[in-house]
Structure formats: structure tokens, C-alpha cells
Amino acid sequence: MSEQTLLNWLLTDEPTSRRHARLTRFYQGWLALRANTLAMLGLSILIVLTLMAILAPVLAPHDPFVQNLGNRLQPLGSTDHLLGTDSLGRDILSRLIYGSRITLYIVALVALIAPIAGLLVGTVSGYAGGWVDVILMRITDVFLAFPRLVLALAFVAVLGAGIENAVIAISLTAWPPYARIARAETLTIRSSDYISAIRLQGAKPLRIITKHIWPLCMSSLIVRVTLDMAGIILAAAGLGFLGLGAQPPSPEWGAMISEGRRFILDSWWVATIPGLAIFTVSLAFNLLGDGLRDVLDPKSRGQ
Amino acid sequence: MLSVKNLWVKFPTNKGLFDAVRGISFSLGRERLGIVGESGSGKSMTGRAILRLIRPPGFIMAEYVKFGEDNLIDLDESKMRSIRGRRISMVMQDPKFSLNPVMTIGAQIIEAYRQHNDVPKRVAYQKAIEMLDAVLIRDTERVLRAYPHEVSGGMGQRIMIAMMLIPNPDILIADEPTSALDVSVQKQVMSILDGLVTRRGMGLILISHDLNLVSQFCDRVLIMYAGRIVEVCDAGALHQARHPYTQGLLNSLPRLTEKTRHLSVLQRDPAWAQPDSVTS
């Protein structure tokens, strides 16, 4: 298949199979996203981050855990240590590269747990209505009433410090907004004609929720997740900074800032470099989220 | 008063440029001009293009859109703003989307009036009452205190018309002003509009899909198909229209007076989209 025929195949208004229909829709979404320069910038940063995490052993010039006290607090650009070294003489660049694995790990886990929990609670609550709605939403309100980091701190304090527990704690604090969004979407979708139509075919609530409401809630949740990613990374870093997330010597970015804090006046780069990394990745997620909103928002598409 | 030459409206898509309006020319005097066509015929785009209200990435091309001395195509945005609403007004299909939901109707009319006339609030309030009187709204004081969701669709549309007429524009463009309304209210709103237009000597462009409505309330009708004008005729003579598209549209309407098993279906001829626009 030449390039032109492939393009036509992907852009056709007359798909010939289920797979073809899905591919054309996906491709058109991709084209719309590609037109958004900032979103593409965000996406490229995230791709670089992912590659960095995968290829960490190859990319890192040093072992991130090897200490060299004679070589501590080397400045930026010193020979052999491009981004300098920290208070224990570890190469900051290598720690940064290995740290991307932890960041991605946290992000991926939270991005799986929180929205799915929120989606379940929100759609069931919105579709069922009545007392189910009241009970589920009051529970949501209870979680929403606490400041996020404080609640996460409380959870970690109960569960014990560590990266897995940090993920669980962040997820527990992150799901209520998703439940709220999913519920609000469900309320509008529930009263639409296409839901009435499928009810008139005898479809049961479970089928309506999973096959008809979920696909429509999904896009706004994906957008929200990407926009929240920055917050999640910051929360994880915050926990790390407070010593309740990743434990030393693991090169988690928040923990790295925390360690560098003591030397911030004399050796500013030790805290600043991981801070910049957090900033860049958060920004990348926000840019991508903004672009995805334009592409995925069901209200602005297909018109 | 308004004369349009070779107007195009184009939208870039994944598959190249889509021409929504394809090189139409017409002129408008102090008359009621109807633009009729089906959805996608470009009739609404024509109305919006006159006021340069096409949203990007869509764009407009024309030899000229002359309004008095000005060529609307070349005017800068700030001059355009002074024409929009002030000298050419537009009434949209659904009043719900055109009125601000969190302001009372009175506040909106008074604000609109004071934007165009430097008068104290009291005078503007009196004017607002007069305006609503002009569109045959009876309990004006109550309506002025009401929020847009508290009035019916017909009332909302009359309020919109009142607001659009405040600056005494030379031309009113009405895009499907009554299609969200019930039949009985439709007639009422149209005759109010009609009366105001004739009394003030304005030009009216009535954009509609409803052939009968247009033939009742207009002097001249442009029939659009696939972005072009296929026929221009006197509104009264619409039923003697010669173009097969116009005839087909008229014939496909069910009639209360005759009993038929099948309605005649419009057979679209690709050739209709080909020739250049008819000019008027």
C-alpha cells in the first residue's frame, strides 16, 4: 500500500470493518492533536521521559547509588558530572535518570487506580440516583473535605512510609474529583435520547453503564487525569520531600529536593535540578492534557 | 444598500478546502430579501459572512461586500465592530443562546441601549419599555424584571428582535428567527418583524428553510443549493419557480388538502451544483 492510499484508507468516510472504523476515528483524533504544537511538545517530553526510564542503565553515566564523599557537591558542568553531584557525591544526572522510573511508576499506578475508582462510583451514583446517589456522593464529599496532602499524610502515617503506600495514599485522595466529573457527565448522558433508545431495547443498567456511559465519560476523565498528573507528581514529590514517600537512597525527585534543601544556599543545583525535572514533566502533562481536551471533548467533536 | 460580489466561504478540512458558499453575488435595497435552502446549502454562512462572523479556521473571500461607502471585506476589526449590531443587526435562531442567562431582560436591554446612546438609566428604562411595546409585549414591567429562562420561546425571540432594533440598524439579518417557535407564535413574530422593517425602511435578509414562510413575508427570494444561488424570484411567484430544485422542494411538502400515498421525492441532479450562481 502506498502512502497515499494508506492516507485515504485512514481518512475515508466509509469504513469497511469495525477495526477500520476505529482506526479512522483514532487517526482523525491524532491529526487534530498533531495540529496542536504545544500538546505535541508535551507529548514529546513525555516520550523522552519514558525512553529515559526504559534506557536508564544505558543512559546514566554513573551508578546512581555509589557514594563518593571526596567528590561531594560538585557544581554544574564539572568534568564527568554534567549536573554536578549531591551531598554524598552521587551523580545528579544519573539519579535524575533513574528517578524518572519512580516518577513514571507512581504516575502510572495513580492514573490507573484513581480514575477507575472515580468512574465506578460516579457513573453508578449518577445513573442509579436516589439513595445510592446520596450515599456515594456523601462519601465522596468526606474525602473531598480534606486537603489532599494532609489526607495522604494521614494514610501514609497509618500504612507506613514507602513508595507503594504513597501511591495508594495519593490514589485514595485523588479519586473523588473523578467521581464528581463522572457523575455530572452521567447525569447529562442519562437523560439523552440514545440512552432512552437503548433502554427501550430492554438493556439492563449494567450494560448501559459499561457500554454506553463509560465510553463517553472516558474522554473527559482522560483529559482530567493528564491535567491532574502534575498535581500527582507534586504530591508524590511532597511526600518524598517529607520523608514519607520513597525512602533513601532511592533517587525519587521529591526526596532529592528534600536532601538538597540543606545546601540550597551554597549548592543551589542539588535541589534545583530535580525541581526543574518535576516542573518540566508537570508542564508536559498539562500541555498534553490541554491538547487532548480539544480532541476528546465529545461536545466539540463530530460537529 | 448592500451589494455582494463573488462571495466565497471556505473551511479547511483534512481533505482540503471545503467551499460552504461558492461565489455568490446579490444586492439588497430597502426590501425584504429571503434566502432559502436546505441545511448545508450555505444560507446561514452567507448571513454570517456579511458580518464577517465566520469562525476560524473558516475564511471569507469576495470581490466586495459593499455597504454604503464601505467595503466590509477590507474594514479592520474595530470598524467592523461599529457596523455589527449598530448598522447591521442579526437575530439568531434560538433566543436562549443569545440572551445572557444571569442578567434580567431589562438590564440587558438597558445596557444595550446605553451602549449606543449616551443617556441616563431612567431614560433608557423608558426606552426599553417602548421597545417591548413595539414588539407587542404587554406586561412590559414584569418582562423587564424576568430572567431569560422565565419567558417563553416566542417572547424571547421578540425580546431579541427588540434588542437588535435598538440602534436603528439599516439592515437586519434574521437567521431562522422563528424555527424554534410554535406555528401560531411564528406568524405573530414574523408580522411584528415585518411591520417594524417596513415602518423603519430597513433592509431585511430573512434566512429560512421554510419556503412558505419566506414567500409570505419577503419581496424577493434567493434559492441556494450547494453554496450557490440557483434561482432568484419574486416571493409571490415562488410557486411558479422554474428551477427543478425549487419545484422539487415545493412538491415534497405534504398538503392538508390532498390525499396522496407517497410524497414526491426530490431527485437531486449533480448538475445543479455545477453552473455559476444566478445573480440578482
Binding site: Y194, S196, R199, Q201, H212, P298, R301 | -
Partner: protein, 246 residues
């Protein structure tokens, strides 16, 4: 086929209660095409929604084919007997489902096994070719969408179609096509129609008898032949006739 007595439908309660339908009686014979005409808010669509269980509160009695309807839940037997076509084809199809998904799910829900050939047959019935099978709603015109919606309603081979303003969102030329399709389908399958519309001419074209509604009540029940001759009694119906004649 359908017998409705003393039907009341309301929304909200207490001070906010709105009575949408007030004490309506109507009988629709098997094979008949019955019209409900009225302006927006007259309660005509609400009657259809009450029949199908989409309106939450109602009182009175409704009997379909000898079996009494209770509450708002309907069983599978009901859905195989009665189906509905909605007003706005832009809102009645799931925006993320292809025509194929819509029809195959409907067929599956009605327990029909041979889905593949049935989809093609249904598309053919409503005048669409197999080319349309994998399209999303945004790749279809208004008329094509309404055809898909009609195909969906026909999938379970119902006896009765409730048509809620099926053409009011469409251009007149497309309206003619859809109305002709509905006429043909009714002849082929001996369907019973209840058609709701604000357009007297459309209802008169499609129906044998018409009930004119206003403020939730039926003000006049009239045969279409009488209507054509202009033999209406109620002043409101006369007014409607007048505005339709133009």
C-alpha cells in the same frame, strides 16, 4: 392494540408539580395510524414517554394487546411489541457507536442470533446500503441517521411504532423520503403507528385519525378525512387549520 384511560402524567411534586398530561383517553386499533398534534408543551410526546416507561410519574390505565402496563418498568415482551423513533436523529444515536454497533447490540438484546445477515437486511429495509454499516453518526446526514434509528426500532420486529416528531429536525425533501419510508414499512409489516407532530399537514398525510392536544388535554378527536374538509369543531383546531392552510 392500545387502550389508554384517564392517563395523567406529571413531573416534580408539591409546589413544583407540572401536570403534563391531564386525564387523556385514547384507543388505537391494530394496524391503525393515529396522530397526536399540538404545540410544544401540549403533552403529546409525554404520552409516548409514559407508554414506554420513560416518564416517571403517571396514573390511569394503559393496556397493550390485552396486557396491562404497570409502573415504569417494561418487560422484554413489551419491547418486542412496541418501539419508538425519537425526534432528533442527532441526539438519538450514541456518538461513539457505529451503525454496526447500534444494530448488532439491538439485535443481540432481542435475542436474535443471526446478527450478520440481519444487519444487512435491516439496512436494506430502511434504504441504506452496506456501505453505511461501519460509519459513526457524525459521518451520516440527518436523514441517514433517522433511517438508522428506524432500523433500530424495527430490529425486534415490533407491531407498533411510536413516532415522536420523526421528521421535524429534517429538511423538507428528506422529510418526504422518511415519511414515504414509514408509509411503505407500515404497509409491508402491518405496523400500528402513533405519530406525534406539531405539523398538522404531516400528521394528516400519515394518519387516519388525529387527536389535537392543548395544555395536556385532548381538545378534539377527528378523522383526517373530516379534517381535510375543514370540519373541525374546537376553535383551537380551526385556528391550527387556518395557520396550516396559510
Amino acid at each position: 392494540m392500545l387502550n389508554v384511560t384517564k392517563l395523567n402524567v406529571w413531573f416534580g411534586h408539591g409546589r413544583d408539580r407540572v401536570d403534563a398530561v391531564k386525564s387523556v383517553d385514547l384507543t388505537v386499533e391494530k394496524g391503525e395510524s393515529f396522530g397526536l398534534v399540538g404545540e410544544s408543551g401540549s403533552g403529546k410526546s409525554t404520552i409516548l414517554r409514559a407508554i414506554t416507561g420513560l416518564a416517571p410519574h403517571w396514573s390511569g390505565a394503559m393496556v397493550i394487546d390485552g396486557s396491562k402496563i404497570v409502573g415504569t418498568s417494561r418487560d422484554r415482551v413489551f419491547f418486542r411489541k412496541v418501539q419508538m423513533v425519537f425526534q432528533d436523529p442527532y441526539a438519538s444515536l450514541h456518538p461513539r457507536h457505529t451503525v454496526d454497533q447500534v444494530l448488532s447490540e439491538t439485535l443481540y438484546l432481542h435475542g436474535i442470533t443471526d446478527i450478520e445477515s440481519n444487519i444487512l437486511r435491516l439496512l436494506d429495509n430502511v434504504g441504506l446500503t452496506a456501505r453505511f454499516r461501519f460509519r459513526y453518526p457524525h459521518q451520516l446526514s440527518g436523514g441517514q441517521r433517522q433511517r438508522v434509528a428506524i432500523a433500530r426500532a424495527l430490529a425486534g420486529r415490533p407491531d407498533m411504532l411510536l413516532l415522536d416528531e420523526p421528521t421535524s429536525a429534517l429538511d423538507v425533501s428528506v422529510q418526504a423520503e422518511i415519511l414515504n419510508l414509514l408509509t411503505d414499512l407500515r404497509n409491508e409489516r402491518h405496523l400500528t403507528y402513533i405519530m406525534v407532530s406539531h405539523n398538522l399537514a404531516v400528521v394528516a398525510h400519515m394518519c387516519d385519525r388525529v387527536a389535537v392536544m392543548r395544555h395536556g388535554e385532548i381538545v378534539e378527536l377527528i378523522k383526517v378525512d373530516q379534517l381535510r374538509l375543514g370540519h373541525a369543531h374546537h376553535p383551537y383546531v380551526k385556528e391550527l387549520l387556518e395557520s396550516t392552510y396559510g
